[in-house]
């Protein structure tokens, strides 16, 4: 029997009070760091493994919940010692090493705001996010600190750059070393008196216009993250759980740290890149029983065929979920063929903080469907023009959610105007389109804007275009998503060159690498088309929609505002 019980019985009677009871929260202070470590120890599970970590060279480290508690205390105390106070933004910019996980909880324990940054970000992407958040401290590693060093002079709010994995780095102004292994372990720390509305985590996400926006979450998000982990990922006390997401993105914190550890679950973290045989070995060697991964990874695994899957054994694997982009029916069916289990697709966003629409254990899966609304979530589709609720089944509209669930973002950092635009007629507008069938299953159709979903990550065209025109050869540029069999979409750039430059293979490669290094590999155009000019409206705005429609073989729609040649 799944943890949730029967969806049809649970949904009508659910209130978020019930979720608080499941968490064991009855008002007063609420601190995610404490719930994920100290409380688990108080429950008598201090000696249970919290983290099994394997690095890319095969080294393995294991930590109990008691060590997780102490190591996060030690990080918290260190940060206090260098002047970090409540609500300060502390960036974590490193690969998936144990320090990332300890420091995340340590930051939360002292009431500061954890600001995870994807370790493959280039300096421009870093700068945009750190400047907007006025981050005070960044925790990083030998591999990544140089990117921070190059931009630190433009970041006056940044007080400390802390390198956590190497004592031998030659330090410059504002840089320092922290070595957790050598530090005196802190057994007791004064946990900040945070409450459900105290800020906790700041994740940046991309939109169509403007630079990325910081979705600010609160400690009360735990109420939703805990129950969705329990009911959707169906974690139980004896599970070994593997979430493949990087904590630079929201899945990696909500379900790669907070949800599972608040339940006292043993987690596997693999800090190696993708490789089908390597991933199957991780599932086998650590006896993973619940696995949360992404459609892009599933499609890459599918490419390797089922013969490789069968070379390994997965006797404990009992539940598999997917997130990041819609999982096509073939992926669900392949899971059944390869592992004897389907993948359960889950839907949510950085802004929602937790799963909102999903396939539930014990519920019939309709391959290709997003599933149904989580209890406590009122989810509808709105008419694309009038924004009225669509009652008719199978009609496409905008997915909208009634605000009020605990893990909803509380603001876009420093950007109230854009935050306000996310709400229409009392609904939170996700920016995604779907239909709902007569039984309440949602069926994803696509984005309602120009944001590019590549490999499960949202990339904003504006951020890419802004970087493109900084390349010495680029006069103007447009970035759109083009279809891709593995990543759903990849970035394609249309580029008009400045006088004196002409298209060439070398120039294309130079522009690709320029974006990769300034922003991130995700933002790098996988294809560049050189054009004489870009389609624009008469008012001079680039008609990205037209370029995207061409890539997708769609109708070009209304072109009456296109400027004349």
């Amino acid at each position: 029997m799944p943890n949730m019980g029967d969806y049809n019985d649970v949904y009508p009677n659910f209130t978020w009070k019930k979720a608080e009871e499941v968490l064991g929260y009855d008002g007063g202070p609420l601190n995610i760091g404490w719930y994920c470590s100290d409380r688990i120890c108080e429950q008598g599970k201090g000696k249970k493994l919290a983290l099994i970590w394997e690095g890319f060279t095969g080294e393995v480290e294991k930590y109990t919940f008691d060590e997780l508690r102490q190591n996060s205390n030690t990080y918290g105390e260190f940060l206090r010692s260098i002047g970090v106070v409540e609500r300060d933004r502390v960036c974590i910019f490193m690969d998936k090493i144990p320090d990332l996980y300890f420091s995340f909880l340590g930051i939360l324990k002292i009431g500061a705001i954890a600001q995870p940054l994807f370790s493959a970000f280039g300096e421009e992407a870093l700068f945009t996010r750190m400047e907007n958040a006025a981050s005070s401290v960044i925790l990083t590693t030998k591999k990544h600190y140089r990117k921070v060093r190059r931009i630190k002079d433009q970041l006056p709010a940044l007080r400390h750059i802390v390198i956590v994995d190497d004592d031998s780095v030659g330090l410059e102004e504002r840089e320092m070393i922290f070595n957790l292994k050598a530090a005196k372990k802190i057994d007791k720390i004064e946990i900040a008196k945070t409450g459900p509305e105290s800020p906790s985590v700041l994740h940046y996400t991309s939109g169509t216009t403007g630079q990325p926006k910081g979705a600010l979450h609160v400690h009360g998000s735990l109420i939703a993250q805990h129950i969705t982990t329990k009911w959707v990922l169906d974690l139980r006390d004896d599970d070994v759980y593997w979430c493949t997401a990087d904590p630079g993105w929201v899945t990696g914190t909500s379900y790669g740290i907070i949800g599972p550890w608040s339940l006292g679950t043993t987690q596997v973290v693999y800090d190696g890149g993708f490789g089908a045989a390597k991933w199957y070995r991780i599932l086998q060697d650590y006896g993973v029983s619940v696995w949360y991964t992404a459609p892009t990874a599933i499609r890459l695994l599918m490419k390797e065929g089922t013969a490789l899957v069968k070379q390994f054994k997965y006797p404990r694997l009992r539940h598999m979920c997917s997130v990041g982009e819609p999982l096509n029916p073939e992926g669900v069916i392949w899971g059944q063929e390869a592992f004897g289990l389907p993948y359960f697709d889950t839907y949510w966003q950085t802004e929602t903080g937790a799963i909102v629409i999903t396939n539930f254990p014990g519920m019939e899966i309709r391959p290709g469907s997003m599933g149904k609304a989580f209890p406590g979530i009122e989810a509808v589709v709105l008419d694309l023009k009038t924004h009225e609720v669509i009652a008719e089944p199978n009609k496409v509209g905008l997915i909208a959610l009634k605000p009020g669930w605990p893990s909803m973002m509380r603001e876009y950092w420093n950007n109230p105007e854009v935050y306000g635009k996310k709400f229409i007629n009392g609904w939170y507008i996700t920016g995604d389109r779907s239909s709902i069938d007569k039984d309440g299953y949602f069926w994803f159709v696509g984005r309602d804007d120009d944001v590019i979903n590549t490999g499960g990550h949202l990339v904003g065209p504006f951020e890419i275009e802004s970087a493109l025109i900084e390349h010495e050869a680029v006069a103007e540029a447009a970035a759109v998503g083009k279809p891709d069999p593995v990543n759903m979409e990849v970035v394609k750039a249309f580029v008009a060159l400045k006088p004196g430059f002409s298209p060439s293979d070398d120039l294309e490669l130079s522009i690709m690498n320029y974006i990769r290094k300034r922003l991130s590999p995700l933002a790098m155009p996988q294809e560049i088309e050189f054009v004489d000019k870009l389609p624009k409206t008469r008012s001079g705005k680039i008609m990205r929609r037209l370029l995207r429609a061409k890539e997708w073989g769609e109708d070009l729609g209304d072109t009456s505002t296109l400027e004349d040649d």
Binding site: D95, A120, G272, G273, F274, R516, P521, M524
Partner: protein, 80 residues
């Protein structure tokens, strides 16, 4: 190290490695997070343009691109 491996190594160092880091032809790239699946596209594009070849997707696997030595072997196999 032959000329092919040297060319690829130089390119990887120029484009993917931060100043001061040292790598050799057998250093892991993909599994060490130096090159990811998205960045692989620019590396593959470089090889295709430089050597006037087309590398099929099934040859450009994360395993085959995990170090300079094995990348060079992919190129050699295609060049024949």
């Amino acid at each position: 190290m032959d000329e092919l491996e040297q060319t690829i190594l130089d390119y990887v160092i120029d484009e993917y490695i931060e100043d001061g880091e040292e790598i050799g032809v057998e250093s892991p790239l993909i599994s060490a997070g130096i090159v990811d699946s998205f960045s692989m596209v620019s590396l593959k594009t470089f090889l295709e343009r430089r050597y006037k070849i087309s590398i099929p997707d099934d040859k450009a696997s994360p395993e085959a691109f995990d170090n300079v030595k094995s990348i060079a072997q992919v190129v050699r196999d295609i060049l024949g």
